[in-house]
């Protein structure tokens, strides 16, 4: 396949008179890892919604694997922000994965033998075999997030979208989920768009950064974007990026609107 996993062409989103972001242009090759950063309300989530086909662009184009974005495409996997499932959810771990595979289908809810073996495969892929039969409500946040990764991988996606998948997880689980995304998506040739508040947990995997702030954006490698002069210009106020033992700390003089580490 030669077409890029994702291509944006002068993409713009406005809400009324307010321009959320405009003129976003880039393409993402298969196997590339893009981190999307920026303060709350800068348009990170809307960016994902556009790629999921849940939000229209006001102008410009967005294409996934050479085709215009479409709601419910199997080519696009999605890991939503972690929220703890209800204790009494009437599903086992494997039933949750099954929803990722066939949850959109109407008709008698039989699970075919083929679907069943695919579910087993996905559960093994994310290392959830030990608790495949356990009720999802009794699983930890990290375990539930592994199952969400399995749901996202169900369609063998060419593009994997992650909406702060590490949110509220402890460091061990953050590392495990990141490794999982690396080995099961990136190494299998999927492009990853990873929305996050915090670049450090994923910094070693990031190929490029898309940074949204104040209706504007910057795009480039970590070294090109995560710099004091670039971010100061973007925020239109002094911002300092400090590197400390391989970690990046972004500090604003008026810290409002700048993310904290």
């Amino acid at each position: 396949m030669t077409e890029p996993a994702l291509r944006l062409d002068a993409a713009t989103v406005r809400f009324g008179a307010r321009t959320l972001w405009s003129d976003v242009n880039f393409s993402l090759e298969r196997g590339e890892f893009l981190a999307v950063l920026g303060p709350n309300g800068a348009g990170k989530s809307t960016f994902l919604k556009v790629l999921l086909g849940l939000q229209r662009l006001n102008s410009g184009n967005a294409e996934v694997l050479g085709k215009p974005v479409r709601r419910g495409s199997h080519q696009v996997g999605y890991i939503p922000q972690h929220h703890q499932l209800e204790l009494e959810t009437p599903l086992r771990a494997r039933d949750l994965v099954a929803l990722g595979l066939e949850g959109h289908k109407y008709g008698l809810p039989w699970v075919t033998r083929r679907a069943r073996s695919r579910i087993d495969e996905l559960i093994e892929q994310v290392g959830a075999t030990d608790y495949a039969q356990r009720p999802v409500g009794l699983l930890s946040g990290g375990e539930q997030q592994r199952l969400r990764a399995a749901q996202a991988l169900a369609g063998n996606p060419g593009l994997l979208l992650c909406d702060e998948p590490l949110h509220s997880l402890d460091l061990n689980h953050q590392r495990a989920i990141t490794e999982l995304i690396r080995s099961q998506a990136v190494d299998r040739g999927a492009a990853v768009v990873f929305v996050t508040h915090e670049i450090n947990p994923v910094i070693e995997h990031v190929d490029r950064v898309l940074y949204f702030a104040r209706g504007d954006h910057r795009m480039g490698t970590v070294q090109e974007v995560m710099r004091s002069d670039v971010l100061s210009e973007l925020y239109q106020s002094p911002v300092e990026v400090i590197e400390h033992k391989g970690r990046l700390v972004v500090m604003g003089e008026h810290s409002e609107g700048v993310h904290h580490d």
């Binding site: 849940l54 999605y78 009437p90 949850g103 959109h104």
Partner: protein
């Protein structure tokens, strides 16, 4: 009081009496099955209070139709479906359903009481709308109740997966192309229908006993989807049918029996569920160490 209840019992000619209420038992059984299925989603979506609100507006609809000399089942259905659809639309807008329900509930109840006050017919009919009247339903109504309940159950089974998906994880379901908002409205309309049918058995005040309690009990003890549904249907069916079969021996209305049986089932499940969970967590702890 106990003496009054006990002395009203008589087992003479039980099966002859039973033959008279056969239709009602069958209706209650089918409504129990429907309640068991839809109850799983009611609990999952935390819509218990909404069910109660719909029931009271359904009561107003039934009372209005009684007053106008029209079909009571139709009246309660129109009231329930309209209320359910309205709450569904509002919930999509801002997701704060309980306030809306709490506002609609007393309004519906008040209207219903007004209509009953204006009604000049037999008072037994009036009381029945609030507390259940299944022995009084005629053949045509029985047929209507059963067909609507079967229809609702079949639709629920056919939309099971997308409805479960959007109840558990609406964000992901929407991303996978499930029309979450449309499903919410469809579910609310089905719920309206289910409430209207159940009002005929246990009355507007006690609908929760048939639609919510059985599945709440099932969710305490089971997690496999199929087992939850089977248990929930079994509990609802058992409370409805056993309630009627005990009630016909005496003069006490049916509803107290149905509500007491379903409450007892819930208490037993609650205790069993606690023990289960304690065992699972101790096993998990043992596996970790």
């Amino acid at each position: 009081m106990i003496e009054r209840i006990a002395s009203s019992f008589s087992t003479d000619n039980y099966w002859e009496l039973f033959a008279l209420v056969q239709n009602s038992v069958l209706t209650a059984a089918v409504l129990g099955l429907m309640g068991g299925i839809i109850g799983v989603f009611i609990n999952l979506r935390r819509a218990g209070l909404v069910v109660h609100g719909i029931a009271e507006i359904s009561f107003a609809g039934a009372a209005l139709f009684l007053l106008m000399g029209l079909d009571v089942v139709l009246g309660s259905t129109l009231g329930a479906v309209a209320a359910a659809a309205l709450i569904g639309v509002l919930s999509i807008r801002d997701r704060e359903v309980s306030a809306v329900t709490a506002v609609l509930m007393p309004f519906g109840m008040g209207l219903g009481i007004l209509f009953l006050y204006l009604y000049q017919g037999r008072t037994a009919n009036q009381f029945g709308l609030l507390t259940g009247q299944i022995v009084g339903v005629d053949d045509i109504q029985t047929r209507t109740l059963i067909s609507v309940a079967v229809l609702i159950s079949v639709i629920l089974i056919l939309i099971w997966r997308p409805l479960m998906f959007s109840s558990v994880d609406p964000q992901l379901a929407a991303a996978r192309g499930v029309h979450v908002n449309i499903l919410t409205i469809v579910f609310m309309v089905l719920l309206g229908g289910a409430v209207a049918m159940s009002v005929q058995v246990v009355g507007a005040l006690l609908v929760l006993a048939l639609l919510v309690v059985p599945s709440a009990a099932a969710l305490k003890v089971a997690r496999r989807p199929l087992i939850v549904v089977l248990l929930s249907c079994g509990f609802a069916l058992f409370s409805a049918v056993a309630g009627i079969m005990i009630a016909i021996m005496g003069t006490v209305p049916i509803s107290p029996y149905i509500t007491t049986i379903s409450f007892l089932i819930y208490v037993v499940c609650l205790l069993v569920g606690r023990r289960q969970r304690a065992r699972i967590s101790s096993e998990a702890a043992a596996a970790m160490s």
